[in-house]
Symmetry: C2
């Protein structure tokens, strides 16, 4: 009897005649625990894949038309890199075993649709990079710089040339399994994009019944990978063949069918999808990082800026921000209580752009993202935005001037200006009480006044986010303190509590 | 009989006993034209100040308690720098005589409250600078870097120490007259801020009756200067002693009392004031220049970004943007159909910061603003945002994908995301049909595809907004054209029509 680690992958195939791509079921029991999962078709039989979430002996029974199987295995403690799936906690993430997880994502939409050598190259690049999440699509991608026809597709075709969604091509799915497994070894979460609009093969135009068959197959096959995140879409609002409600049906399907409740999000082009109970976090496309505070407030979920432009120089406005701007976006996101995702789009004659095909990282942002990642992981706790600046002017405190007549005025403002006003009031500053991190972004102060508690002692460091330096400027400060600053962009301050008095 | 230029300043004082600060009246007639204006007290009599708007012979009669006067003058054509007051035309400005006027403002809030030598220094600086509008306050300013007590104030005090608004200190107002006249000679519009919150002397806390007496005095005294703009406030929404409605009363007062209908706006901190019939243009404080299109759409007025941060390095987030960011803000504003205003806040031990006190320009943005100004004035017509990207997704056209199910979806989105979506769709590109100017801001494309009409011929120039260079890259292009680009920030493209086919 094999031993399986907690959060590891148990797999058992039974040989049976081909029916639907998802069929039959398996029951896994351990003590009073009981989990039921469907089987998926894999070319020559049905497979039960299971991720045990508790140690101990597990027994299973598999039943599908024409075959049964039963057995047992022992689940032992997780070890090494295995910390289980990522879950949310408030506005943050962590591994299921409680280990810290702070997302530092990158984007290689169609890397699994490239030639094998290029895929291996991508994995090598990822090994040396700071990224612990990757945005990638199940379906291939058709758009500028993405003109190659993949060798294999997720489905076989019917006689009439249309896709047969109940007839998966096991070559495709076995390769996807392999790549997700390799990402797992690299401790990289697979933010798997289930639908997207950049399609010339018809996958985005499935009728809803086909889409749901496909979705159920994805869940049955892939949910047992602990590094799985479900991204319903890249740019749901550009998949014009789908109605708004379809997306909710996908979310509900995942909520009902994924026994592990992996992280689930939906990524926008124009506007975030409304809050739903299947949504675990926001996966946002926006250049406007000032809005992170508003999304936190309105959704009460972690906010991941999965697209704010990619470092590069191509002709599209989403694909030509500078390395500094990419690094700045990470710092802005973090300093406003969110998270950010990287991508690279450097023009190449051979059209191998990281953002779509993977390959080699060419930019200057990745090492600087690594620097930020190292810094954040070195701090012991997750931080949230400071509450010193008042988000809601109704929250009147003593140190604000009297609001005679003002509240009435605000209530009359157009909604767009209410939002605008609110945005301006959010600071780029986070704290956990022991540390405070303030980021100045494009601002270039030569002097700065920081407000520290009057009765404690605090170390103050200046961080240069581009040069990747931390310099202690005050060993022990207290109260309102004026600091000489470099007068350039990309500067942050880190304040550290040295005694019993907490930072606010 | 003196000759007065059209839009010139006619002035006649009558000696009379002191009553209210605004009293009596004068009637000016010329042919069928008849204008009635109030007189203002100036220390030793009442003054009638008048700006003739038509050439010909004008007669006047002045009546105030205890004195009368009558006479005539000839109004001759305006000459030289005198083009009359600035008026609006759609989303743009022009002088009353039809001469082009494109606002390139700067900010010296309290320069008239500084020592005389510094005021003269400011005028010298303005003489060499590109600015043709200045934001400046009637009242002195109290805030960091503004700790000096002015020598003279607009009013004398009552016996109890409170301000006597009906008793203006003529020394103050004569100096203000002089400075406005000097700005007029320099062809600089006076964007005169009537109220503001940075006050330790009590001017912002006048009861409404006092505020209106003061406002009527300002109008009676200053409206005849052709270079006068009325700015009801700097940051109306921080003047907590005033109710929201008070501002409308000021606007209505100006609309009713200013016979020349000078440009009138109100500047915000948090949110724009709602549209009113006295409002001639928007005077916006915002760092978010993507919103210019929305303001244009919602207010149908010219949009002047009067505050988007100042070039400098002080501790406040509004006072430490880089020179590049200041220049970028001008280009962004212009390329989105708006206008921008400059300011400088470089830290100095002596606290003489341009934004408040004037003095000497120290930054690097002013020459680059001059470059943009020269470029825009060299183009023959005002430009407006191109309509190639669809602001409203309901405006479906052939080259967009089908919107099946999408419109319903959009109608369900939260308002904030509707606004966000709309913002993303506005391009940074303007045209008048003969020229098209596209600005890439922080984007760093190495290649760019531009869409020119297939059947005409167009010159294409690359503009480097920081290096201040224009380089012709294509002498005669047509249709969809790929252009090699510098791959750096701060690049614009200027396309020029060479034949009968118009740019869209």
């Amino acid at each position: 009897m094999n031993a399986i680690e907690k959060y590891g992958l148990f797999e058992q195939k039974v040989t049976a005649p081909k029916g639907d791509c998802v069929a039959g079921g398996a029951v896994f029991t351990s003590g009073s625990l009981r989990m039921e999962i469907p089987l998926f078709w894999d070319g020559d039989g049905y497979v039960a894949r299971f991720m045990p979430g508790e140690t101990g002996e597990w027994r299973y029974e598999i039943v599908v038309d024409g075959a049964t199987a039963a057995g047992a295995f022992t689940c032992v403690d997780n070890t090494g890199n295995n910390h289980g799936p990522v879950v949310t906690e408030g506005y943050h993430f962590k591994y299921a075993d409680g280990t810290r997880y702070i997302p530092f994502g990158t984007t290689c939409y169609a890397w699994i649709h490239q030639p094998q050598e290029l895929q291996e190259n991508t994995l090598e690049s990822l090994k040396a990079a700071p990224f612990n999440k990757i945005r990638m699509c199940v379906f291939p991608k058709s758009m500028p710089y993405n003109n190659d026809e993949p060798e294999i597709f997720p489905f076989n075709k019917k006689a009439d040339g249309s896709w047969d969604v109940n007839n998966p091509d096991e070559r495709f799915w076995r390769q996807l399994d392999k790549r997700i497994g390799q990402l797992m070894e690299l401790q990289i979460e697979t933010d798997l994009i289930i639908f997207h609009p950049y399609d010339k093969w018809g996958f985005s135009e499935f009728i809803q019944e086909e889409s749901l068959i496909y979705l159920n197959y994805v869940i049955a096959r892939l949910a047992a990978y602990r590094n799985m995140w479900w991204s319903l879409a890249n740019e749901y609002d550009l998949v014009f063949a789908k109605s708004y409600e379809y997306w909710d049906e996908y979310g509900q399907t995942i909520k009902n069918k994924d026994p592990y409740h992996h992280l689930t999000s939906i990524h926008n082009c124009f506007a975030c999808y409304e809050k739903k109970d299947w949504m675990t976090h926001l996966s946002v496309q926006s250049f406007d990082l000032y809005r992170i505070g508003i999304w936190r407030q309105d959704y009460e979920l972690p906010v991941v800026i999965d697209e704010c432009g990619y470092e590069g120089n191509i002709e599209f406005n989403w694909g030509n921000i500078s390395a500094f701007e990419m690094v700045h976006s990470f710092w802005m996101s973090v300093a406003r209580g969110g998270f950010c995702t990287h991508g690279e789009t450097f023009y190449r004659e051979d059209e191998v752009l990281w953002w779509a095909k993977g390959g080699t990282l060419l930019g200057k942002s990745a090492p600087r993202i690594a620097f930020l990642k190292e810094l954040l992981y070195s701090l012991p706790a997750d931080m949230n935005p400071v509450n010193r600046v008042h988000i809601n002017p109704n929250e009147q405190t003593d140190d604000m001037p009297p609001l005679d007549g003002f509240l009435t005025a605000l209530s009359r403002l157009p909604e767009m200006d209410r939002i605008h006003r609110t945005m301006q009031l959010f600071p780029s500053e986070i704290t956990d009480g022991n540390y405070r991190l303030q980021y100045f972004g494009h601002q270039c102060p030569a002097v700065m006044d920081i407000l520290l508690p009057d009765d404690g002692h605090f170390r103050v460091e200046i961080i240069d986010v581009w040069e990747m330096t931390c310099t202690v400027v005050l060993e022990s400060a207290q109260g309102k303190t004026r600091i000489g600053m470099p007068g350039k962009e990309g500067i942050a301050l880190l304040m550290t509590r040295l005694d019993g008095v907490s930072l606010k």
